[in-house]
Symmetry: C2
Subunit: 252 residues, 2 copies
């Protein structure tokens, strides 16, 4: 474990964020490397088309073994961020190839300063998907779905969005709603959407105390779905997303 000793060697005037080795019991080493490289790329510090340093050199620079470095690069490759070929090296792919819906990529995107344009895009996606999902949910929900949504709503009311538990409950509500559509493709989007929701909520929170109580909006959606009123469900969800976008926009 050579990664422990802080770089006593020349630390390069700041521009060289040497091996980010979080507290030993955090995520695994390759996870840290992937996180490091991933944020570098998503944030644009390594632009698309650029070639990163060779494996041996880069692994040494980060003070990790080549195996760990390579496994990290595999992760990036799996998410479409980079591509590597013998003799050519490892290049950052154009943004169009990135799996931006991948929860982890989303996390990297939000780990620094969030791109306001991208946040707008995400809300636009929510505005497309979630009302339609609410409509389907109102059609197909069963007893268990309603229960799950009600539970999430209760938790959300108890703790507010100011707490982690509250935000988790918010996510649970949206997850339960997507699950109530009984559509696996939509449920897969759920992970991305709830990630986006929780990140943006966090930023809203950071900016100021929540200016508006979001619970009533959620209750309207819930009632419509539980009651099987498809149009009302879609409409209620649409206003919910619109208001959330409004709040987020103000805080950025």
């Amino acid at each position: 474990m050579a990664a422990d000793e802080q770089a006593d060697s020349v630390d390069e005037a700041g521009v060289q964020p040497i091996t980010r080795t979080p507290k030993g019991s955090g995520r695994r080493l390759r996870g840290a490397i992937a996180h490091y490289l991933g944020t570098q790329i998503v944030s644009g510090r390594i632009a698309p088309g650029e070639k990163l340093t060779g494996e041996v050199a880069n692994a040494e620079a980060l003070d990790v073994s080549r195996s760990a470095y390579r496994e990290a690069v595999q992760v990036l490759t799996a998410k479409g961020l980079v591509e590597s070929r013998p003799k050519a090296g490892t290049h950052v792919l154009p943004r169009s190839r990135w799996n931006m819906l991948d929860p982890q990529v989303l996390a990297w995107a939000f780990s620094g300063e969030p791109d306001t344009d991208f946040v707008r895009d995400l809300f636009e996606l929510r505005a497309v998907v979630e009302p339609a999902a609410a409509r389907l949910a109102a059609e197909r929900r069963d007893r268990d779905d309603v229960k799950a949504m009600r539970d999430a709503l209760t938790k959300m009311r108890r703790h507010t969005l100011a707490t982690d538990a509250g935000r988790a409950a918010d996510r649970d509500f949206h997850d339960a709603l997507l699950a109530a559509t009984h559509n696996h493709a939509l449920m897969a989007l759920s992970a991305s959407i709830s990630a986006a929701v929780s990140w943006t909520t966090k930023y809203k929170q950071r900016a100021r105390a929540l200016p508006r109580d979001p619970v009533p909006d959620h209750i309207k959606v819930f009632d419509a779905i539980a009651g099987g009123d498809v149009d009302a469900a879609a409409a209620a969800m649409r206003t919910l997303v619109d208001l959330a976008l409004e709040d987020t926009r103000l805080s950025m």
Copy 2:
């Protein structure tokens, strides 16, 4: 892209599913391993919750080095299919954790017998996203977007959907449409959707000669978007997706 059909049909016979990937095969070794394991999991031959054999044993069984095997597992981990911890081993995660929108996972899902329920779900997602995207595209498309869509349409008319080039043009059309929304989140979905489109188109093709010419539908969509008629664009796209679902349903 036709190098996909690996001879992985041999594995059914016995308990000897050796990845026959002689050197010279298209993609890299770890890609073949990931494909092998990925299809095993997505197809349900290795059910969620199950623990796969230890690295050393499994790598040896597949006749590859442990490094290559591990890198393949990293890919699966990155896509949310498995999770591994020391002493516990590597377990298949529940379906809800899988990134089903990942193009590669989608490819694995379609490499065997396609799950008709999942195909229906995918079309439902298309039915939600693409009409809304067409509406946005009609609002925001610029000169280049229109040109890209027209070019794709021309190619699509020249070659039919019976050819690879024709299917590629179909994908290009949908990609260009999503791109015309100028929404990066939607464009990210584009990869998943066009993957789904091309896979299902292939199955339609396999079943029988295409029963209906899809070009007129596409032209209606194109005209509405080029003309900036948002409602017509959404409506035309909705019927396009509905008809495509109809065709696909018949062929399965």
